[in-house]
């Protein structure tokens, strides 16, 4: 599904010599998952991050795909959630009602990974349409499971490219709610915890616990703070000391490159 598709445009970009932005993103994503958690994944970097977590600190992560696939171990790279390649060696084939109803809506999904056409300062996500400068609307995909995951997962993680136009003050269409209008999730009447981390090719963002607006969590090595601010369409809380996003360990890099995505389909 589009809302979970691979982030494009980071093709081969190395942030520090020998380490690509996509590799830093995958490792950062993996570190956000804890062992034994239940995660709803999409294809691309979220899948890569999940597999990395499973092969390192979180062997008992349960990875669910909304179409009704659990813990599959693809042999070949799938092109999407409707691709049979993603069904291989699953422990369960069911459907939406089970994954999205009896797990996500039931409240047992710890983390959901989403993609975004746009994400704003309150973590609201647009996956429906783009407004061109002329005012003309271009439809893209819609919600699919995006709104459901954003509404109901305990933590929402977004992996996306860091571009000013993709990170506007307010999204052109609020497909999937974050902290709408800066309000708490409880005020909004939403069960899920809302946006937790936005992992881009420049930084890891989080959300201020009081204002619920975006805050810098860590800056990727090789990225300057000014560069980040310039490429972000909304004001960011910046901590006094800006931590650097940890680089992938040698073992993580080996796993990513030799086992998880050797053909660099997603780790471009």
């Amino acid at each position: 599904m589009s809302s979970m598709q691979v982030s494009e445009g980071t093709k081969g970009k190395e942030l520090v010599p020998g380490i690509r932005a996509t590799e830093i993103m995958a490792a950062a994503g993996a570190r956000e998952l804890r062992d034994g958690e239940v995660v709803i994944v999409g294809l691309g970097l979220p899948e890569v991050a999940t597999v990395l977590a499973k092969r390192t600190h979180a062997p008992r992560l349960a990875a669910l795909l909304e179409v009704g696939v659990m813990n599959s171990v693809p042999k070949d790279t799938p092109v999407g959630l409707a691709d049979s390649r993603i069904f291989y060696r699953a422990t369960c084939w069911s459907g939406f009602l089970d994954v999205m109803g009896m797990n996500l809506h039931r409240g047992v999904v710890d983390a959901g990974f989403l993609g975004a056409l746009e994400l704003d300062r309150f973590g609201n996500i647009n996956t429906t349409l783009l407004k061109q400068e002329s005012g003309k609307v271009r439809y893209i995909n819609g919600s699919a499971g995006g709104n459901d995951v954003a509404s109901l997962a305990k933590r929402v993680m977004v992996i996306m490219r860091h571009e000013k136009r993709k990170l506007p003050l307010a999204v052109a269409h609020l497909t999937s709610p974050g902290f709408v209008g800066g309000r708490s999730r409880q005020e909004l009447g939403l069960r899920g915890g809302g946006p937790w981390r936005v992992i881009t090719d420049m930084a890891v963002l989080g959300f201020d616990s009081v204002t619920h607006s975006a805050a810098l969590v860590s800056l990727h090595p090789g990225i300057r703070l000014e560069e980040l601010i310039e490429n972000t369409g909304f004001p960011l809380h910046i901590p006094k000391e800006v931590p650097a996003t940890p680089l992938p360990t040698a073992e993580e890099l080996r796993l990513l490159r030799e086992e998880i995505d050797p053909k660099r389909v997603y780790l471009r």
Binding site: M1, S2, S3, Q5, L65, E66, V67, G68, V69, K75, D76, V79, G80, L81, A82, D83, S84, R85, F87, Y88, A90, W93, S94, G95, F96, L97, M100, G101, L104, H105, T128, K136, V137, R138, Y139, I140, N141, G142, S143, A144, G145, G146, N147, D148, S151, L152, H173, L174, T175, S176, P177, V180, L188, G189, L190, R191
Partner: protein
Amino acid sequence: MSASGTVGKVKSAAEVVQGIPSGAHIALGGFAIARNVIAVVHELIRQQKRDLTISQGVVGLDTDLLVGAGLVKHLIMGGGSLDRFGPVPCVNRARETKSLVCEDYTSLSMCFRYLAGALGLSFIPIKSLIASEVLERLEAGAGAGDVQRMKCPFTGEEYVALRALTPDVSLVHVQVADREGNCQIDGPRWENEEQAKAGRRLIVVAEEIVSTEYIQRSPERTIIPGHRVEAVIHQPFGAVPTAVFRRYDYDAEHLRLYVEHAQEPKRYQEYLKKFVFDCRDHSEYLEKLGGAKRMEQLKADPVLGY
């Protein structure tokens, strides 16, 4: 003949489509580029069934074909995509030119609407949609009569009530069915069980017709029982160029060709002429795609399933 008839249920796509009136609400069981009822969709286009309402969890090639052919007036969907082959070009263009009415839901809310229909409930509550523009647009637009904010009578918690979907006809593509319509599906089933059982009429397209004895060997796998099925269309490779798990892979080449043509209305008409109107039936269409030789290439590896 209705599902209760004594005449055989196995029919051709052409026969079945003759029984579907213009203006009908049809629920499609495909998902993006998997298990699309292409054989029936082509026939709906050939027979020019107009003013259709189409509902689908995640629309794919099937709905895009119908919208591109100008047959759809109302679309009820949870999302749409051709996976890596891009967004749904005809659907998105029709939305941009406002040539169809579209109700945008989400995967789960579509599934819940079908579930309510399948269970004979006129409504069902949900905790998605809240605080989103998806809900606001539904309330302000075509979905105004189908969503309603409400509170739980026990806890007071806020919900969105969704009106049940009970399509006039539900269509599902399955791997095997017997002549009575008992269906078994390989791989994940997305919202097929709910979508199928929500329909007032239910028609299935089966890759293979098996004996009832085959069904009786693993009755726990019967997702759709025969008594709910009005007709079975036996059409091998009936979903090409979309994938059918354990039968064949998607036809990447043809999907690219489709997207290329669908970008532009005039070229899309060329596509429709060549692959739909100029084909008497699905066999002729398959011939144009390369016939038996091409089908052999698409055929799934029995271990991998694609």
